[in-house]
């Protein structure tokens, strides 16, 4: 049985949203998605899934606080402690196993409620082995960028090209928080923070909520919008140990892609997609992920960024939404956000960002520092 996305709801991403509580933000995302699908959550949904991390929310057992604002009171409901694509995978499994016909998947960021984000990231490090060293945890990204550039042959100028492209295309995306006319030269000259990583190589936190309505084929056919089929989905984790993981090629992305490609019967990824949305919480991550997903040959992702292959109209338009660099880092909602962007492209509803003839897309997520986990989804329309 095929499973499709039939409702897309995304609130505009903002650096801060003092006017909304996190509950009101979730309600806003949910009502947009339900209106898009044309459903009543009180009667038409079999299961609700949220994707969240307690330390990002700032209180324990976040799971318990979710039903009211999603229309899920007294209904099956659970939280996945991970990225939105991991929640989407749960939705696919629940539908394919016959537990539910329609499933809602939600994830959000209320990062502006976090006063000490650096402290939260540092708290994710091993308590005995790494924490005593102290220091800013983003040095982990600096280490990885260094290893990746040396090991793959990509160059830091290529990373600057990614920054410029994603910040600029975000100007066309009405939900983006950080669209700007940043140039390659500007990015390459921004202050080194954790060399070789520079200030503009890092995405900035944003608040926002993404809600998707997912349905089995029979239910999906009755909905308002054209279903975007989830042809394949996968997720994986590399070692939590900084000393053991692969710094050059991110194994979590490779393994998640293999799983999704197997389900979607994708044999030649580089020629299979009209659009890619891959994680770019740091600029080098976009290049690293493109290679891990076999969308670029090893050592060639940077050349693709430089030559315009990744731009709208290029060989493989990548992160034309603006990505995390342009739209903002919405924490565990990042993967779901990019699924939403790809779904709108596949439906032909991406506004000024719309590409021609998008029939199949690949989306990839990473949970952010210091994790080595993420997911991949293959999406398509028609047939």
């Amino acid at each position: 049985m095929r499973v499709g996305i039939v409702g897309v709801g995304v609130t505009p991403f903002r650096p801060t949203t003092p006017e909304f509580s996190w509950k009101e933000l979730m309600y806003d995302g949910a009502q947009r998605s339900y209106a898009d699908a044309g459903i009543d959550p009180r009667s038409d949904v079999g299961s609700f899934i949220t994707c969240a991390e307690d330390y990002y929310e700032g209180f324990g057992i976040f799971d318990e606080f979710t039903p009211d604002q999603l229309g899920a009171v007294l209904r099956p409901m659970h939280t996945v402690g991970g990225d939105g694509i991991q929640g989407l995978a749960n939705a696919v499994m629940q539908i394919r196993s016959g537990l539910a016909d329609v499933v809602v998947v939600e994830s959000h960021s209320k990062a502006s409620d976090i006063l000490t984000f650096t402290g939260i990231v540092a708290h994710g490090l091993d308590p005995i082995w790494n924490k005593p060293l102290g220091g800013h945890p983003n040095y982990v990204a600096g280490l990885e960028m260094d290893a990746f550039l040396r090991g793959s042959g990509n160059r830091s100028e290529d990373c600057a090209a990614v920054v410029a492209a994603n910040r600029q295309t975000a100007l066309l995306n009405p939900i983006a928080a950080y669209g700007a006319r940043v140039t390659k030269e500007q990015a390459a000259k921004s202050p080194a923070l954790w060399a070789p990583l520079r200030q503009l190589d890092a995405s900035t936190l944003a608040d926002g909520c993404v809600v998707l309505v997912v349905a089995g084929e029979a239910a999906a056919r009755k909905m308002r919008s054209e279903p975007v089929w989830i042809e394949g989905i996968g997720w994986a984790s590399d070692s939590p140990s900084l000393e053991t993981r692969d710094w050059v090629a991110p194994a979590y992305a490779t393994l998640a892609a293999e799983m999704a490609y197997r389900l979607a019967k994708v044999r030649d990824p580089a020629r299979s997609f009209d659009l890619a949305e891959v994680d770019d919480k740091f600029s080098y991550k976009e290049l690293q992920h493109l290679e891990a997903l076999r969308l670029a040959r090893k050592g060639h992702a940077g050349k693709m960024a430089r030559s315009g292959d990744l731009a709208a109209g290029g060989k493989l338009p990548t992160n034309v939404s603006g990505g995390s660099l342009g739209c903002g880092n919405v924490l565990e909602a990042s993967g779901l956000h990019r699924v939403a962007e790809a779904a709108l492209q596949l439906r032909g509803e991406a506004g000024r960002l719309q590409l021609d003839g998008v029939r199949r897309a690949v989306v990839q997520s990473w949970r952010g520092l210091p994790s080595a986990s993420g997911g991949v989804a293959v999406l398509g329309v028609g047939r």
Partner: protein, 173 residues
């Protein structure tokens, strides 16, 4: 220790041993600070508390008065319609008499705590709080109570602007 065993074999560790570094420990204090936006509904609720009033929202679809207020009705999944003041009186729905403090130490004056359903709000709408000015033998489910507000100048926009709920005499059911 049990009634039969006065002392277990082996070396006991006390807090002094930890403080004096007799055992290997790793200390870490996470830097985890948050400041939650109260949002539209709770911001108004807190501002009203500071004025010594309790406010709710009405959903005109199901007719419920939602307290504490929320901008959406969780039953109907639609925006709520109007601000409505509710009373600072209510009925004890459930209570407990706590003989331990937060460190699990025995206390001589027990803490009375419970849930008050607030007059003017719909059923199952209320507030958890402390009870005062009543004896442990006096408290009971169904008892009518009223908020004991802190003096206006010391209210800060917090549920603690109510000190506790106390018996409302003369109207007991």
């Amino acid at each position: 220790m049990t009634a039969n065993i006065a002392r277990w074999p082996g070396a006991e560790l006390g807090s002094k041993d930890l403080e004096n570094g007799k055992v290997t420990t790793q200390r870490y204090r996470p830097d985890a600070k948050f400041a939650w936006s109260a949002g539209e509904a709770m911001s108004r609720f807190l501002a009203e508390l500071q004025q010594g009033r309790l406010i709710a929202r009405e959903c005109k679809n199901c007719g419920r008065i939602l307290f504490p207020p929320r901008m959406f009705c969780e039953e109907c999944f639609r925006p709520t319609d109007e601000w409505v003041y509710v009373k600072d009186t209510g009925t004890i729905e459930t209570y407990s008499i706590s003989y331990l403090d937060t460190d699990a130490r025995r206390i001589t004056e027990p803490i009375l705590v419970g849930v008050v359903s607030v007059d003017g709000a719909s059923p199952k709408m209320g507030i958890m709080h402390y009870f005062g000015e009543m004896a442990t033998g006096e408290i009971r489910i169904g008892m009518k109570v009223q908020a004991k507000w802190r003096p206006a100048e010391s209210r800060v926009g917090s549920v603690l602007d109510i000190e506790y709920f106390r018996p409302l005499h003369g109207v007991d059911r």
